[in-house]
């Protein structure tokens, strides 16, 4: 008896505080005091979900690298905020010769690098020489294979000579990896990985890996009056729940991507607002046409009929707009064709016709570090089993996904999102000639090749329209849609811009009040 009493006493002791803690509303504990005086420097606290691999944009393809580097470096041209149109940046203007084989860029004068060097055509040439050379080990030289030479007739003029017309060239020039670095430091073998020096709106103060990236305003930035905020502290916080709590507590001002579960909590907070943007993502479930069953177009059609796109977008990705071909919804090149609307009856009939038995097993590979794709994958599995397909889920880490699934073609289905590109060639290049879905279509290959050397929007659009229609009809994918991105921002912060298509952070117009 005594034992029982003791045990009960202990349980009570442990459980009571738990109830006390779970009850009781939290008082609004506003940490911030009154708004800082006008002269006081302002600091933006930003939650960064991971540590960038490197701050040398030439040498990597890491998303986080480009997102951070956007504030440190500039490119000759850039996508305009809002519209996404490619507009002058470090180059104030450019001209293309009549034969489309020579691009002349006029550089802005009075631009200086963070180390004080003035920007000249020599810096531009040195940067592209590094980016175009196979020897430096950059993963971006292929975009420049048509460039035969770079000339610098004077300090403010750079001429790119091409061997053939290159329609995506301007898109390549405006992409994050085409950043301009100072020649003097390139020559001396400076460590750009950890000590970036550019012409961008902010300078790097300190980067404590896995902890914090600190940036400070570049007083001599070439856009007058910008940037508006004095300092940026990017706190590296891997856990999404901690990011959200930090936003509520006011320890960070912006959380770039808020997961669907946390939205209600933030909506209830009067100090936070949520900005919703359509991403440039092309969300898909890819099908491997190397699999004999999936090489049958009827099976691929059936799978497309089986998927309720809007439902997956809403539940797994926090909303979005469905697409029916391999192009993001916001692109000017999007071709609005639709062949397979959600119809499970039709799906079952087609599968029966193709003779797919429910015993046949398909493997659906999901990249486990992308929680959204995993949730989506579970929904795909359910919808497919609803029409009688036997789908097994395999979770793999990102490196395995890249090597085994993407490069090794060792999959039946996989769920992934293709990131936005400034030019449709970046999105489509290679499809029709296999790629990871092993889908072959000579007409598509031909169209895409032509489109890459055709200049003029209307002419290119006609070619891409046909290619995208073939892809929409042949469906080597389930084209799901482009999702919305919910960004959580504290009310005292305004003007946070996300670069269209590239989805990088642009703090030039950001104001902290």
């Amino acid at each position: 008896m005594k034992r029982m009493i003791c045990l009960a006493a202990v349980l009570v002791l442990i459980l009571v505080p738990a109830f006390v803690f779970s009850g009781g509303k939290q008082e609004a504990s506003e940490a911030e005091a009154a708004a800082p005086a006008a002269a006081e420097p302002t600091t933006l606290n930003f939650a960064l979900p991971g540590n960038p691999d490197s701050l040398d944009p030439h040498m990597t393809s890491g998303t986080l690298t480009f997102q951070v580097c956007k504030s440190i470096y500039d490119t000759l041209a850039e996508p305009e905020k809002g519209s996404g149109k490619i507009v002058p940046a470090l180059a104030e203007s450019w001209k293309v010769s009549d034969d489309n084989l020579s691009w002349t860029f006029k550089l802005r004068s009075g631009v200086t690098f963070h180390n004080g060097d003035p920007l000249t055509s020599a810096d531009v040439k040195a940067s592209f020489d590094r980016l175009m050379s196979e020897e430096t080990g950059t993963p971006h030289f292929k975009g420049f294979t048509s460039v035969t030479s770079i000339e610098t007739p004077d300090v403010n003029t750079v001429v790119f000579n091409l061997s053939k017309p290159n329609a995506p060239f301007l898109g390549t020039i405006a992409s994050g990896w085409s950043a301009i670095l100072p020649k003097s430091l390139l020559d001396s073998g400076h460590d750009f990985d950890s000590k970036p020096v550019g012409t961008g709106p902010f300078k790097l103060v300190e980067w404590v890996r896995d902890n914090k990236v600190t940036l400070t305003k570049n007083e001599n930035y070439w856009m007058k009056g910008l940037p508006k905020v004095d300092n940026i502290e990017m706190h590296i916080i891997p856990e999404t729940s901690v990011q959200v709590q930090s936003l509520i507590a006011g320890q960070v001002d912006i959380v770039f991507i808020v997961d669907a579960d946390s939205i209600p909590m933030l909506e209830a907070d009067k100090d936070v607002y949520i900005e919703e943007n359509l991403t440039a993502l092309i969300l898909v479930m890819a099908m491997n046409c190397e699999n004999p069953t999936l090489s049958d177009i009827r099976v691929r059609q059936a799978i497309n009929y089986a998927i309720d796109k809007q439902k997956i977008l809403d539940i797994a990705y926090g909303g979005g707009e469905p697409i029916n071909t391999f192009m993001d919804k916001s692109s000017a090149f999007y071709n609005d064709v639709e062949f397979y609307t959600y119809n499970p009856e039709k799906a079952r009939a087609l599968l029966k016709e193709a003779g797919v038995s429910s015993k046949q097993e398909f493997e659906l590979f999901l990249p486990q570090n992308y929680a959204l794709h995993v949730t989506a994958g579970e929904m795909y599995q359910e919808m497919l089993s609803d029409v009688g397909l036997n789908v097994k889920i395999q979770l793999v880490d990102w490196s395995t996904w890249l090597a085994d699934v993407y490069k090794g073609h060792n999959f039946d289905f996989t769920v992934i999102g293709h990131t936005g590109k400034l030019d449709p060639d970046g999105t489509l290049n290679g499809y029709g000639g296999g790629k990871y879905v092993s889908w072959y279509n000579d007409r598509t290959t031909e169209l895409l090749k032509d489109a890459a050397v055709t200049i003029g929007f209307e002419e290119r659009k006609a070619l891409y329209d046909e290619a995208l229609e073939i892809m929409a009809k042949e469906v080597p994918f389930v084209y799901l849609g482009s999702s919305f991105r919910q960004t959580g921002i504290r009310k005292n912060v305004e003007g946070f811009v996300i670069t269209p298509k590239l989805d990088t952070f642009d703090f030039r117009w950001t104001v902290v009040k």
Partner: protein
């Protein structure tokens, strides 16, 4: 002299361990799917671009050659450069080590401070309130995953009652919650062991003898029995310390701490071969050193055990 020989022998064993472990990790990390060049180059890269990256990071040369040159490097205590970030692995480990070792020490000390007194108390006053408290505590401690405890602690003591910071480093305050999450499960294990070991010692004949010759109960329990009871506890605590280094991986993720655990975790995610290899060897050496220290500590606690 005997001690010197012992140290020498242990050192030799350490070298052998490192050699075996380095060989295993070198090949294992390459056998599992994944390629650092693909991680760097990304999905849009062409074959040629991936090859260019391979040449830059040095995975294009034959495996045997890579292995021999790497062994040469570690013989000079140089772990090479990280394949992903290009930084020296030695420097990365050197920068991250202090945080993780501080965390592990704080965790284990918190664990000991909670566990040993409670364990002894449970054994001495069996079936009392404290004994039940200790038992429930250790059951919960072993059942609760440390990342969950970490998040709950953050919600309680950083959000609801904002005593501690939500993320970041720079003061002892930043380490208290993570150390507690780490130490909690360790405390549970140590507590159980302390109790069991103490109960066993108290039932031995020398305790009866000690009582018979008229020693005070305090002397019997806390001088004679406790000292013997602590021997297995020291061993387990040493092993637990090794686990702390592993547990730090999860805890550093939850508390956004830039320690060794996160360094190695992302190294593994990204197949940063050189970083993972360096990391595994480093941990193996630390583990061996801790075990060595535990052996030395043994002879201090119990002079009957002679180092041999």
């Amino acid at each position: 002299m005997k001690f010197l020989l012992f140290v020498l022998k242990r050192l030799l064993r350490l070298v052998l361990t490192v050699l075996i472990i380095s060989t295993i990790i070198f090949f294992v990390i390459r056998v599992i799917p994944g390629d650092p060049a693909l991680v760097i180059a990304g999905v849009d890269a062409s074959e040629e671009e991936i090859d260019a990256v391979r040449a830059r990071i040095g995975t294009d040369v034959p495996l045997g050659e890579q292995y021999v040159s790497w062994l040469g490097d570690i013989a000079r205590f140089d772990f090479g450069e990280s394949m992903i970030s290009g930084e020296s692995v030695n420097k990365l480990i050197y920068e991250r080590f202090p945080l993780t070792i501080t965390l592990a020490f704080m965790g284990i000390i918190l664990g000991i401070v909670i566990a040993i007194p409670l364990g002894v108390l449970s054994a001495v006053k069996r079936w009392s309130f404290w004994d039940y408290f200790g038992m429930v505590f250790s059951q919960i401690g072993m059942a609760v995953p440390s990342f969950w405890l970490g998040i709950i602690l953050l919600l309680l003591f950083a959000v609801r009652f904002p005593i501690f910071p939500l993320f970041g480093i720079g003061s002892l305050k930043h380490l208290i919650l993570p150390a507690f999450s780490l130490g909690f499960a360790r405390a549970a294990v140590i507590l159980r062991l302390t109790r069991a070991s103490m109960v066993e010692e108290l039932s031995k004949e020398y305790v009866i003898t000690a009582r018979a010759k008229g020693l005070t109960e305090t002397m019997v329990k806390y001088k004679h029995a406790l000292r013997n009871a602590l021997i297995p506890v020291v061993t387990i605590t040493g092993i637990q310390f090794g686990y702390m280094l592993g547990g730090a991986i999860i805890i550093e993720q939850v508390f956004s701490l830039p320690g060794l655990g996160r360094l190695f975790l992302y190294g593994i995610y990204q197949r940063d071969f050189t970083l993972v290899q360096g990391g595994v060897i480093f941990i193996a050496v630390v583990f061996s050193l801790v075990n060595f220290l535990v052996d030395v500590l043994y002879s201090v606690i119990n002079p009957r055990i002679r180092i041999s």
